[in-house]
Amino acid sequence: MHTSQPMELVAPAGSLAALKAAFEAGADAVYLGLRNATNARNFAGLNFSEADIRSGVALARKLGRKVLFAINTFPQPGRTHEWRAAVDAAHDLGADAVILADPGLLVYARERYPELRLHLSVQGSATHADAIELMREQFGIRRVVLPRVLTLQEVDRLARQTQVEIEVFGFGSLCVMAEGRCLLSSFATGDSPNNKGVCSPAHAVRWHERDGRLDARLSGILIDRYAPGEPASYPTLCKGRFEVEGRADHALEEPTSLNALALLPRLAEMGVRAIKIEGRQRSPAYVAQVVATLRAALDAAHLAPARYAVKPDWQARLARHAEGSQTTQGAFDRPWK
């Protein structure tokens, strides 16, 4: 059944400039985080000061849009107060919702700010109805961001089994592993999404060129080796090339991006409430172009779902921002099944 309410477009904002670009391009909401380990994209030079958030929220209010505040790493032992301070900040700065992953922090947010709208982060790894319903019963979560491991059929089933709003990823770099439960980065470098809000952190990356050949290392571990002239990408650990039984290849995953453009009417029909764009580490130009493209697609899907078709220029624009210029519908259609 087609719902009358359009799906919300949720855009990444790694900076105030990206937030403005997202709203100008038609995002209904942005998600952002503080400049510290409390959010899962804790990259140098990115994220928000409290003053930036105050301006961002003011702009959102003026435009009738929303600011979602991500606090989606896990409070480290002995340092719970840092994460609680982030929840306090989210409340005090007027966030429309807080995106949380950790049950202990959800307890705090619920008890301290009963009116604060809580979303369960993708890092919370709720992959089936019992997990989502437990979080609703315990913490009153209003929305869940689904991990990128579920098929369309599974999303459909979930949407029918829970009253919690469902948000899914629609475009961006693809985490191959269930997020919030991947220690590969800390295994190689000591820093992980869970404990520091980083994956394959830049401080651990070293490039070495010899005879035209380029090696990418993470804490000294050879993650990828490029032939002369071969374009190099950021050495994200799970997308490197490794040897398995003597064969060097992308043993875990190729650098590809998720692109669910073609699935928008089906997602809407299932009752999915919001489409999320990945990429708080990306530039305002990326945010502007991807948001504008998805805005056009979502509007088309909403106005005339039966006549919806992906326009070639949408695909072309998104392809420019895809990793390795390759896109996939990821787990939604399980190409590896």
């Binding site: 409070p75 002995g78 989502i132 579920l150 869970n194 490794f242």
Partner: protein, 296 residues
């Protein structure tokens, strides 16, 4: 040195071994010094060398041999089959369940459980919440260092036991994709059960042949065997109640025996990992998990 009261647990078998190999392993485990045995398939619901009834029969044998038996629930739940597996575990009342992800907590409806190592219980408030849901024990996150574990144990609610992994390849990540099937250019649903040929997982090396990771179906592990045997007494002194050994195809019960020696106040001695597998203990020392540092 005073005898420590720490118990020894065999974590769930993470690999797909031939049926007879599984039965032989647990027959030997029944004669070992392990106090606690976690049973069941937690990685891939397609693996079926042992059916649920077989696991229950094994549980009965191990209990008869004096072991405390728990049944472990799957770690990444997507399919109807996996949801069914959780429901079956929740429906039986003979054995407590080790919970692999939060959904199983609801299915258990307040019954006592052990919170598995992938629940991300990094601080006291989350431990308190788990205890409120019925957790009697939790397995500490693998990436904590010594100071982090000490801080976590200081925040632990009274009555909630702590368990820490001390030996075996570390499970590091979970995916919807099956990397073993991918290596063989097979579809996940028609994988030919190739995992069965790799009793300790499939080695993933760097392009300069450096030991790095191991592929085990949808799971990615450390290539190196975690070895905290030399730190076992210290773990116990910090307040860890249960040492976990994760089964490998070889040397596992030697690690159990080493821990038994520690418990009796003797040195652990050195236990070699299975041939071709190195050791790591970096997390304990506040370094990258892959690092190895000899005990001072």
């Amino acid at each position: 040195m005073e005898m420590t009261a720490c118990r020894i647990a065999l974590g769930p078998l993470l690999y797909y071994w031939p049926r007879q190999a599984v039965l032989d392993f647990y027959a030997a485990a029944a004669r070992s010094a392990a106090d606690i045995v976690y049973l069941g398939e937690t990685v891939c619901s397609r693996r079926h060398e042992l059916r649920p009834a077989d696991w229950l029969a094994l549980a009965g044998d191990l209990r008869a041999a004096g072991k405390t038996v728990l049944l472990s629930s799957p770690t990444l739940v997507e399919s109807v089959a996996e949801i069914g597996q959780i429901r079956r575990l929740a429906a039986q009342a003979d054995y407590p369940v080790e919970v692999g992800e939060v959904g199983a907590i609801r299915a258990l409806g307040g019954r006592p459980f052990v919170a598995g190592p992938h629940l991300n219980a990094y601080h006291g408030a989350t431990l308190a919440w788990l205890a409120g849901q019925g957790a009697i024990r939790f397995v500490a996150p693998l990436e904590l260092d010594r100071a982090g574990l000490a801080a976590l144990l200081a925040e632990k609610p009274a009555g909630l036991e702590a368990e820490a992994m001390v030996w075996g390849r570390m499970p590091l990540a979970f995916s919807a994709r099956c990397f073993t099937a991918r290596h063989f250019h097979l579809r996940k649903d028609e994988c030919g059960f190739r995992c069965i040929d790799y009793p300790d997982g499939l080695d993933l090396r760097t392009q300069e042949a450096g030991e790095f990771l191991a592929i085990n179906g949808i799971q990615t592990q450390s290539a190196q065997c975690l070895d905290l045997l030399a730190q076992a007494a210290e773990l116990a002194a910090l307040g860890v109640a249960v040492w976990r050994v994760s089964p490998q195809s070889q040397c596992t019960l030697e690690a159990v025996a080493a821990l038994d020696r520690v418990r009796r106040g003797e040195p652990a001695g050195t236990v070699s990992p299975p041939p071709g597998i190195g050791r790591c203990n970096g997390y304990w020392h506040g370094r990258a998990g892959i690092a190895w540092q000899e005990a001072a």
